[in-house]
Amino acid sequence: MSSGTMNAEMLTVAPTVAPTVASTGAPAAILAMSHVDMDFTLGSGFLNRMTLRAVSDVSLSLHAGQALALVGESGSGKSTIARILARLYRQTSGTITRAGADVASFTAKDLATYRRDVQMIFQDPFASLNPTHTVGYHLERAIRLHRPNLSRPEVRDHIDALLTQVGLLPARSFAERRPHEISGGQRQRVSIARALSVEPSVILADEPTSMLDVSVRLGVLNLLADLKEHRKLAALYITHDIATARYFAEQTAVLFAGNLVEQGPSTVITETPQHPYTRLLIESVPNPANRITGTAPRRSQDIALRAPTSRGCPFVSRCPRATSICQTEMPVQTWLGDGHFVRCHNL
């Protein structure tokens, strides 16, 4: 279905306060961010300083047993969003809610629980494990920090169970190895085991497979998918690869220059993308059915940095549909049904 076949009745323009998924009747989110902005100050001194708006008015929610993929190019703010959710950054404005409760009102004890509950898996399995310690030590440390009452044999059993769960067998042998003795895919499995060791309910996976070989990539994604399903984990899956986003996540959100420009069921986003940026992304994915001719027009451009005062749609300079309103006003969400929204003036 192309945008041309859609008529005005099908479009319901969102009110000034965009509905969150929770208010449309879906089950309550485990973790949600609402109207979050994140500014960074660049440069130093009085004259050189400028404010960069890395994330602009982003609302999203994570549900038990479901994955949301966050797709976009480098610098679009994907990792910043994960870091805000992990409480590694404090958002400039907007709220984070954990099972409906505003995180800003949390006591120190609540926050400790939150940190245990929301675990991150990082991109680089070569940098995220300490080369001088064994695999077992990495897991033991997390277990002891969060569950100080376990006895030594209990910790050991727990480590073995975790390694078994992530498919590192025989578990005892893997527990005794150091990071240089195992492959990249196995290291990423250790990172996953470490995240699981504290029994979280939310996993924030920041490009967990982009450093892995294609043949092991699927194994790691399948492991995450099984864990998500069996442990009812909510997952945020950050990637620049829209094909693995579709493979792993039920929902896909497309981020451009800190703004969510389109979100919906992954199959809908990849098969009938409505936003011109989503279309560009999908057209750019290598497709074995095509043949490169060397004649296609150049489509990429550096993104202009966004300031809190920036107006208009961030995609305007690259957009084939841009009109004058795009220069001055950020489009609101247009809901197309099935939880699919797009932010574009010229659908």
């Binding site: 294609v214 579709r246 199959t267 497709n287």
Partner: protein, 327 residues
């Protein structure tokens, strides 16, 4: 399609190429006697998992292998001349004038404290010592123009460019002496898909205009199939299949090629589970008996664990495969 057009003498002819890495107590054979040709103007791809020897082959072709690596056997013929016999003078001419390299992280291949103009001009000067200063600078400008970067940026430093532009500069440096073969080792891996698409289109455009051949190395099979004419699939240091690019996904003959092709989630159709390839490639220090892929192969028979299959050419398609089950 291009098989009828292949000239009698290929641009590059690799026979029984063997590269070892010498350890303190053991020798690891990273490339085990591989054969392939690259025709004039052809884009040949080498696919395979990390550690299968793709980059080792690329380095050996440019005579860049350094200890502990050692080219221990075989032959590399460039327009009929034996590259492995080149002396220092001939090698200097061979490198960059005839064969150049685009590395994976061109972003890190550029010197951060030198203006990019200097880095391009250095390359030209090193290989064409007789050129005058003006000629060299004119060449640098021409290269910038070729890869679509505004000439006013010629005297900027690498950090002033984005990743995609730095990769373009890497390509410009590789093209500046008009080589006949450009080895591209994961030229777009560190880039976003939209930028990747632009760069690969640009490489293709340059190739159409300048007529060089390409050895293209990437783990992204989809991209390789789009760009290359022919593809060789490597596994654990051996070539297991070569075929026309459009045959790799549609008519794979080696089980490894088939499994590799099924490791990419599709963008259309129902969301369903894919299994990828179970296990991991064998360490070079402990290779299995018989076919090296047999322990991971879902269709292996008893023979596969005993006898090493050799690369057999199909007389019709000219494709080659090393598998007991395909013969």
């Amino acid at each position: 399609m291009s098989s009828d057009l292949i000239a009698p003498m290929p641009l590059l002819q690799v026979r029984n190429l063997t590269v070892d890495y010498i350890g303190e107590n053991a020798i690891a054979r990273a490339v085990n006697g591989i054969d392939f040709d690259i025709a004039e103007g052809e884009a040949f791809g080498l696919a395979g998992e990390s550690g299968c020897g793709k980059s080792t082959v690329a380095f050996a072709l440019a005579r860049l292998t350094r200890l502990p690596g050692l080219v221990s056997g075989g032959s590399i013929r460039f327009r009929g001349e034996e590259v492995l016999d080149f002396g220092p003078e001939r090698l200097r001419k061979y490198r960059w004038n005839e064969v150049s390299f685009v590395f994976q992280s061109a972003m890190n291949a550029l010197n951060p404290v030198m203006r990019v103009s200097e880095q391009i001009m250095d390359t030209v000067r090193a290989h064409q010592p007789k050129a005058t200063g003006d000629e060299v600078r004119a060449r640098a400008l021409e290269m910038f123009d070729l890869v679509g970067i505004p000439s006013r940026r010629l005297d900027d430093y690498p950090h002033q460019f984005s990743g995609g532009m730095r990769q373009r500069i890497g390509i410009a440096i590789a093209m500046c002496l008009n080589p006949r073969l450009v080895i591209m080792d994961e030229p777009t891996t560190a880039l976003d898909v939209v930028v990747q698409r632009d760069i690969i289109e640009q490489i293709c455009d340059l190739k159409n205009n300048l007529g060089f051949s390409v050895l293209f190395i990437t783990h992204d099979l989809g991209l390789m199939i789009e760009f290359c004419d022919r593809i060789g699939v490597m596994y654990a240091g051996e070539l297991v299949e070569t075929a026309a690019a459009d045959q790799i996904l549609t008519a794979p003959r080696h089980p490894y090629t088939r499994a590799l092709g099924q490791s990419f989630p599709p963008l259309t159709g129902p969301r369903r589970r894919l299994e990828g390839i179970a296990g991991s490639p064998p360490p070079l220090s402990a290779l299995p008996q018989g076919c090296r892929f047999s322990p991971r192969c879902t269709s292996a028979v008893a023979l596969c664990g005993i006898e090493v299959p050799t690369l057999q050419t199909d007389p019709q398609t000219k494709g080659q495969v090393a598998c007991h089950l395909a013969q």
